[in-house]
Amino acid sequence: MENVAVVGWAQSDHRDTSTLDTRHSLVYKVITEALASAGLSIQDIDIVFSTGSDVVDGGCISGCDMVGALGGHFREESRIAGDGLHAAMLAQMRISSGFYNTALIVAYSKNSENMSGRKGRKMSDPFFHRPLGIDELVVGAMQERAYLHRYKIAPEEVAGVAVRNRKLGAGNPHARLRDPVTLKDVLSSPEIMSPIREMEASPYSDGACAVILAEDRSAKSMGRKLAWISGSAGITASFQPGSDVITHASSAGKATRLAFAAAGIEDPSRELDIIEAGYQYAYQELMLYEAAGLCGPGEGPAFLRAVEDGSAGIEANPSGGSLCDDPRLATGLIRLAEAAAQVTGRADERQVPGARKALALVATGMGIQCTGCIVVER
């Protein structure tokens, strides 16, 4: 099996409505920048993977009208329905097979074009949930209440997640929300679905990300620090919320266990330097720490405080994460780009000194029932 490295990446500046160009131009721009960052041209790419949301785009098989913009013209090309981080895992498998040297992964979202309100209502179960208007916000709110109740966690602890990420996002030039907020700001923002408050929800954004993977020889010939993929996994729990235990992020638990096993990680809290986690609601960051084995059940808030005061020996979301911008389906791929940037010392103003090993993770869907994760290391 070939070793696979992340050799190039680029992301747009994520905005609410400021991307006035077409999504075709948006992805073409990030692809051009990602290729330049790897010192490659599109002729060097063996296969292109892309993902976009049919519901956001208002058409099926998202990206099928974008083959030219994606660099997919008469090149092997696949589209997936899910976050770009899952597409990166497929690309990794293609290259591991030994039949492909390079792969380009592109994910995008132009949410501002779609004025249809709560888009998740068009994705939920058509028989039992859609007639009731149930979407990921409704399920997320019920999951948060059950989680806080189960472990006696105060709303302030969840609001603290938003405060921390917004502070970090202020230092990220790509972030959409770059103004820090206080605990009081978060706790006085409107409850959009109790107990979830507006500032605890990721802001749907316009944006795109492109990542390039390469096999061992091609990667090493580039003559620079590389982010090697040492483990990855994608797991989906039941689509019926509550069918699996709702107070635990079971899909993230299994996905990270598999990825850590592949990467030879026995104690993630000691061995990881960085975790970049994408999700929709602030409480989910706490549940994801627990699921990834960085702390015990219900200890997410204590772990976050240890991250904050440095005693955890790990940095969480140095980019500010998805509470600062959420170009849906690019959000996870951005985590991979950020993780790769960190372990290769190319994360600019948000660089964590000495970072060698990072976990990029994205948790999506009804009560974060779907998780993809990739471990990268120097």
Partner: protein
């Protein structure tokens, strides 16, 4: 920003999609039981014995056939809830109302539904369904779940 936006042509488009979904012998039977008998039906796995509601023709855990469709509830326990502060087109109830996750007695998994914005609806409250007078074979044939009067804790 609006000025910048005005420099470009924006195309306004509106899509309407219409569906007619057959519900088959399992989901369809669940919906027919709501409409005709005011009963909630779950499916029991032939292999692991778990009882799923809403029912399916397969077990999502072990991919086995089901051995039976059987009545569950109608009373259930609230696993969690949230408050919907605002209504919307085809809202299942007048706002404010609550969404609830409720596990019917005899089932291993919960249903999602709605309840009135009633302080007595908490995690652990026992609730019962209130059916509509006119039923069409929809999950909304249950109007909502209310605290069960017979239960001491309610």
């Amino acid at each position: 920003m609006d000025k910048a936006r005005d420099q470009f042509i924006c195309l306004e488009q509106n899509m309407k999609l219409k569906f007619r979904r057959p519900t088959g012998g399992v989901v369809g039977l669940f919906l027919a039981a709501l409409r005709d008998e005011k009963k909630i039906i779950g499916s029991e796995c032939r292999n692991c014995g778990k009882v799923f509601v809403p029912p399916a023709s397969y077990c999502e855990r072990c991919s086995s056939d089901i051995s039976a469709l059987r009545e569950v509830g109608p009373r259930g326990i609230v696993i969690s809830w949230t408050l919907a502060p605002k209504g919307f087109d085809n809202s299942p109830a007048d706002a404010p109302f609550r969404y609830i996750m409720v596990r019917p007695m005899g089932a291993d998994t919960p249903l999602l539904h709605v309840s009135p914005d009633d302080e007595r609806i908490r995690i652990g409250t026992v609730v019962r369904p209130v059916f509509r007078e006119e039923r069409t074979g929809s999950i909304t044939d249950i109007k909502w779940f209310v605290p069960d009067d017979e239960d001491k804790r309610a």
